[in-house]
């Protein structure tokens, strides 16, 4: 499945479909974990909800105030991991990262925000299991989307 992923580097039919009908967009009412990837400079964020049972990602949802690239990547990524194990999802992060070699710096930052939000949702689960009262885990992005074109 990972081999079929096409990054949003053009307006092919798959990308158009993800833009017009983002998959898994929204929130979960009773998530196991909630993560936030936040770009403090621009105020852009991705919030990621996961429902995990027996180490399996039952459902995931995401929402963002960011650009269409973020929406497309979030839509693709949530489709990739749905129904898979947490371990698979973690390996998917590395594989999707490899694919980002061909996209613009802005698109890579958008993708990182989706991925960091996902990781933050897993950290949130761990923290809750350790007894912490954490509504969501927040990861502040190292890089901002406000980068120069290269």
């Amino acid at each position: 499945m990972l081999e079929d992923v096409v990054m949003p580097n053009g307006m092919n039919p798959e990308v158009l479909e993800h833009i017009m009908n983002p998959q898994n967009y929204g929130k979960l009412e009773s998530p196991s974990g909630v993560g936030l990837g936040l770009d403090e400079k621009t105020g852009e964020y991705v919030v990621f909800y996961v429902e995990v049972k027996d180490e399996q990602l039952i459902r995931s949802r995401f929402a963002t105030n960011g650009c269409q690239d973020t929406v497309v990547i979030g839509s693709m990524f949530t489709q990739m991991i749905e129904g898979k194990t947490v371990e698979y999802a973690k390996s998917a992060l590395a594989k999707i990262d490899e694919k980002l070699g061909v996209v613009t710096p802005q698109q890579k930052i958008c993708a990182n925000m989706v991925l960091e939000a996902f990781i933050a949702s897993l950290i949130n689960i761990q923290n809750i299991q350790s007894g912490a009262k954490e509504e969501m885990h927040v990861t502040k992005m190292q890089e901002s989307c406000e980068v120069e074109d290269v």
Partner: protein, 267 residues
């Protein structure tokens, strides 16, 4: 009441996107006016909710019906209005709302009686043709429209949220100006999306987007976004091989400049 607010939010969008989807200029214009009335209803219902120390949100739970003919859209709209009306209370506000909507239903029923108006809807056909634009230009144009139509919808709702919660007259008036401007931009961009066959609803707003806790930070980020939109308009105006479209993007670019001036008044 918050469920009713959600239903009215959805009905505003249903009337609005019916207007965008239909190519007949008279019906498009009339439905747009009705959509603006729906938006005012939403504002009044929101005010009542806040006055009763309750709150509402911008949750939504519907997708756009990609119907294929004018009569299908109009018939669907009548069904949606009647369904929403079942939840209305017997108050002065909802008497007004019902009167407005019953007039809209009568207007729609007149359209259904006229077979000549039942033409095919092309707003959802994904053809993506526009004058003499090349495929690369259409790609850039499409991306701009998806990006900016979401942004305008977001701004309308964020400013409406802030307007409903301020007692400052200057702020109230600036929010109103910004809402009006974004309504116009949303209309312009969405009608272009319909021309391209890619009409789609902007995605739902998460509460973190509209529950603004730091106005100054929000305005500064908003100004940066307006600057980015200006650059996109300039690039499209320069690169797109269509004189009419280039002039339109120049026009939008100048409007964005004044938005920044308006936003600075909020600082």
């Amino acid at each position: 009441m918050s469920k009713l607010y959600q239903a009215k939010h959805e009905l505003w969008l249903k009337v609005l996107y019916s207007s965008f989807a239909i190519a007949n200029e008279k019906i498009k214009s009339d439905l747009y006016d009705f959509a603006m009335i729906q938006f005012r209803h939403l504002k009044w219902i929101g005010s009542d909710i806040l006055a009763n120390n309750q709150d509402y949100n911008y949750d939504r739970n519907f997708s756009l019906n990609k119907l294929e003919s004018v009569h299908e859209i109009i018939h669907n709209l009548i069904v949606e209005i009647k369904s929403t009306q079942k939840a209305y209370a017997k108050t002065e506000l909802f008497e007004r709302v019902t009167t407005d909507e019953n007039y809209l239903i009568e207007y729609c029923e007149e359209i259904l009686k006229t077979q000549d108006l039942d033409i095919k809807v092309t707003a959802f056909n994904l053809e993506r043709c526009y004058g003499n634009l090349s495929q690369a230009q259409i790609d850039a144009f499409s991306l701009f429209l998806f990006e900016e139509s979401y942004k305008e919808y977001e701004l309308i709702l964020v400013y409406a949220w802030m307007q409903a919660r301020t007692n400052d007259l200057l702020q109230f008036n600036v929010y109103q100006d910004l809402i009006d401007e974004s309504q116009f931009h949303l209309k312009s961009f969405s009608n272009m999306m319909a021309d391209l066959g890619i009409l789609t609803l902007p995605r739902e707003l998460h509460e973190m987007t509209y529950k603004i806790t730091d106005l100054k930070k929000f305005i500064i980020a908003g100004i940066a976004e307006e600057e980015a939109a200006k650059e996109m308009c300039k690039a499209l105006s320069r690169d797109i091989n269509d004189e009419k479209l280039s002039k339109f993007f120049d026009f939008i670019n100048y409007q964005e400049s004044y938005h920044i001036a308006l936003m600075k008044k909020l600082l």
